[in-house]
Amino acid sequence: MSKVNLELPSVQIREIRLNSITGYSGDAKDLVHESGCGIKDRNRTFTQCIGCSNGQAGCMASMMSDSAVISHGPVGCSSCFHEYNMTYRVNAPIHHKENAPRKIFTTNLQEKDTVYGGVKKLSETIHEVYERTKPGVIFVLSTCAVGIVGDDVESVCDEAEKELGIPVVSVVCEGFRSKVWTTGFDATYHGMARKLIKKPEKRSEDTVNIINFWGKDAFGEWLAPFGLKPHYISPFNTAEELSHAGEAAATFQACSTLGSYLAAALEQEYGVPEIPTAPPYGIAQTDRWFRAIGKAFGKEDIAEKVIAEKKEKYLPEIDKIRKQLEGKTAYVAAGAAHGHALLDVLGELGMKSAGASIFHHDPVYDSENPNHDQLAQRVGDYGNVPRFNVCNKQEYELVNALYKAKPDILLARHGGMTLWGAKLGIPSLLVGDEHLSMGYEGLIEYGKLILDTLEHDEFVKNFQQHALNPYTKWWLTQDTDYFQRGAK
């Protein structure tokens, strides 16, 4: 039963929808097994700053090219959004868009607003923002204070939408609502699916939606032999461009942690089928991916041809890299699906997995299709991952795990993680472009980056000797999941 319900103003949170968890310690094989039988989350008795849904919701809202974003809350709840201005600036050229400053606003909620409500202020702000920016869409993000006070944000947005004639989207993403940070993505996608994407009047048979962040255009070349072209959603889309997502022939996710909900909404509400396979990380999955595309469009022969060509062209170089990486160990720290992807990549390159700190775990995605389960595939394709820790971004657990695992390299996707690799003298690599390590080409490109990082370890070796470390000796020698076990 799909949990997508666009009638509701707010998205159902991941821990309810998908039974997602934020604490686990064991190995990947057991986690895959337990995921199928109602796994229970573990609470911690010590927690550090995590990040909240609001940040992820703000990311997707502000990365659209003609959006304005209003954080309905105190001034602090949007204070990291300027980072998306930088992200947009850096990546706009890749997506053939002009750079333009992001339109970021806060209603600047005051104490009196928490007593009398901030509804009037919000309504005035929406109108002022419209006058100032003439956007294609306005997103209104809710915050903890507003959530507790109980402002009816949805009604204010609906009313403004009628008056202004543009979509005004309420995004319910208070930090306390969900323990899973990625619920914020779902919250904005829920709003997009409700208010921006239109019922298709026609089908665009050669277009495939690709739900992604801001990676380079890897898919154009891969889809071309099938006579298909990608429509990347939703960053760098105007509201008008995104409105056509319902017309595509299929949807595919570059990251299942990110796109799970939107892909399911597109299938259920707009009849756009989701390609039933995980993203192409590692050769095994890349081949499956091409075959899935072939199957979906009745072009299985082309898939086989593409696969054969790729093997011929890239395998010799991949083999060379494998030889150089033989016996090296890698530790992965990343958000769920991309962490699994990195585990695939290091498995394919012949490296040994020293363990992983993965932010959360979705036992199943919204499609409920087991073919999307990258972790199960990783275990099947390349073997088990020992010391698999679902860490909820808890730095102390990562530091503890790394301290003990002592891998040759740390592979990360999100900011803040590589610091601890470097402090412990471990060469550390962060790649922000989620497409970079995909496909045969990606194995070579990412493999070279790993080799380069291993080779140039002078900085981390020097830094290690002088780095600050606030963690106690006691902590570094405890079990990583010490505080997940209810220790007081």
């Binding site: 940040g55 702000t125 100032r132 930090g175």
Partner: protein
């Protein structure tokens, strides 16, 4: 209390819990957030490169869920405090409450007092985001530490027992991007006068030991248009320490000399034992090396024919708008035109700040607008573009880079948010700070010709 309550585009400061950076700036201190899960990353994202010893992802946080919103989060906080002592090696713990903790009404005070009674160096402060902003809450944090921590060491630190020692309250850590360098320079300059200085924050401070000795100081120095005022008021009440108040960061020769001479006079009045001759020779020597550079530079300023900036718009806090306006006008010849104070200066200080800026010139009225809505300030700058001849200069945050490009103005990034510039230990205050501002302004202007 902050007084602007309207909408804000492109915020240039953050909410009250942003004052957790005041804790991060104290050596080996740790902020413990009793808040939603994302407050810490919002603040880290605002300042960037602001982790310090135990800030950022290292800071403990109770990470409210729906359960704590309904049933309260005090037990979760108890666990977090207890386990902070096991996991992190810190000298001072400061619990800061966010919106959730604030609205739910957890009795944080009683809990923290339990640990205080056990002798733990722990303090709490109420900082829900909707109550104030980080500039105001900076003082709340400092005052809470004085009340709940410094006060415990009064016996061994007799008030005003060191005639030549001063406590300095100037840059707000992190909110002033140049805080580390500035505090180092203030300290060097004041030591040059013969004083011993507690700067309390950053690498130039001895951390909690220095905080414990706050009462010993003979008097305090406040360098600020408004923030921090409640700290020196409090210390006056508690320890009888009077304060010397300089209303803006002294940048360049004129303001720095005035500042140092002011401190000197005040110190003597307060009974400090100062060798005035030596102090004045120090100031003279500093000033001489400053003017040696200006002398070398003057021909460039006067003769470079390819469009150096003639006028400047500054979007910054009240201190920098004031300090930079004075400096740029008198010591570089760049005329401050419409200025925008984006720090939510309380109404009662605005007239005084305007008066100070007016006093810098007998010839022109420098327009100052107090407007935290920086997006609107940008719009106003666009609208006056036609009024001004020659090349413009914009000093502001990274948001203002695009505006400068649009208006074909030169641009210096000197305020948060600051993703387009790295600042490590650069100082903008003092004689050397003035020279650094000159480098930044004219290098940016020259870059156009690269």
């Amino acid at each position: 209390m902050a007084n602007y309550s309207g909408l804000i585009e492109q915020e240039r400061y953050t909410c009250a819990i942003g004052a957790l950076q005041t804790v991060v700036a104290i050596r080996h201190a740790v902020p413990l957030l009793h808040s939603g899960p994302g407050c810490g990353s919002m603040i880290a994202g605002f300042f960037e490169r602001s982790k310090g010893y135990a800030g950022g992802d290292t800071s403990p946080c109770t990470a409210f869920t729906e359960k704590e919103v309904v049933f309260g989060g005090i037990e979760k906080l108890r666990h977090n405090i207890e386990n902070t002592y096991k996991v992190l090696d810190t000298d001072l713990q400061v619990v800061l409450t966010g919106c959730t903790g604030g609205i739910v009404g957890d009795d944080v005070e009683s809990l923290v007092m339990e640990y205080q009674d056990k002798g733990k160096p722990i303090v709490w402060v109420d900082t829900p985001g909707f109550k104030s902003n980080n500039l105001v809450a900076h003082s709340s944090v400092v005052n809470a530490i004085i009340d709940q921590y410094v006060s415990r060491f009064e016996e061994e630190n007799e008030p005003r027992s060191e005639r030549n020692t001063v406590n300095l309250f100037a840059s707000i850590p992190y909110q002033d991007p140049f805080w580390k360098g500035n505090l180092r320079e203030y300290k060097r300059l004041l030591e040059g006068l013969g004083l011993k200085v507690n700067v309390l924050f950053g690498p130039e401070s001895e951390g909690v030991k220095e905080w414990q000795q706050i009462p010993r100081a003979n008097f305090n120095i406040l360098v600020s248009p408004w923030y921090g005022k409640t700290i020196v008021d409090k210390l006056k009440r508690e320890y009888g320490q009077d304060y010397f108040w300089f209303h803006y960061p002294p940048i360049g020769a004129n303001a720095t000399r005035e500042f140092l001479e002011g401190v000197l006079t005040f110190a003597v009045e307060q009974g400090a034992k100062i060798d005035s001759g030596k102090a004045f020779s120090f100031i003279d020597a500093e000033e001489n090396s400053y003017y040696e550079e200006i002398d070398n530079l003057a021909s460039f300023l006067l003769e470079f024919r390819y469009g150096l900036p003639k006028y400047v718009h500054i979007l910054h806090d009240a201190g920098y708008v004031t300090g930079l306006s004075r400096f740029l006008l008198h010591e570089t010849g760049i005329v401050p035109v419409e200025q925008y104070v984006v720090d939510n200066t309380p109404a009662k200080y605005q007239e005084q700040i305007q008066e100070t800026i007016r006093s810098f010139s007998g010839k022109r009225d420098i327009g100052v607008t107090f407007l935290p809505d920086a997006g609107l300030a940008q719009q106003k700058i666009r609208e006056v573009k036609e009024k001004h001849d020659g090349k413009g200069l914009i000093i502001g945050s990274s948001w203002d880079g695009d505006l400068a490009k649009e208006l074909d103005d030169a641009y210096v990034c000197a305020a948060h948010p600051m993703e387009l510039r790295l600042v490590l230990t650069t100082n903008y205050v003092g004689f050397t700070g003035g020279l650094r501002v000159i480098e930044d302004v004219y290098n940016t202007a020259l870059k156009i010709y690269e």
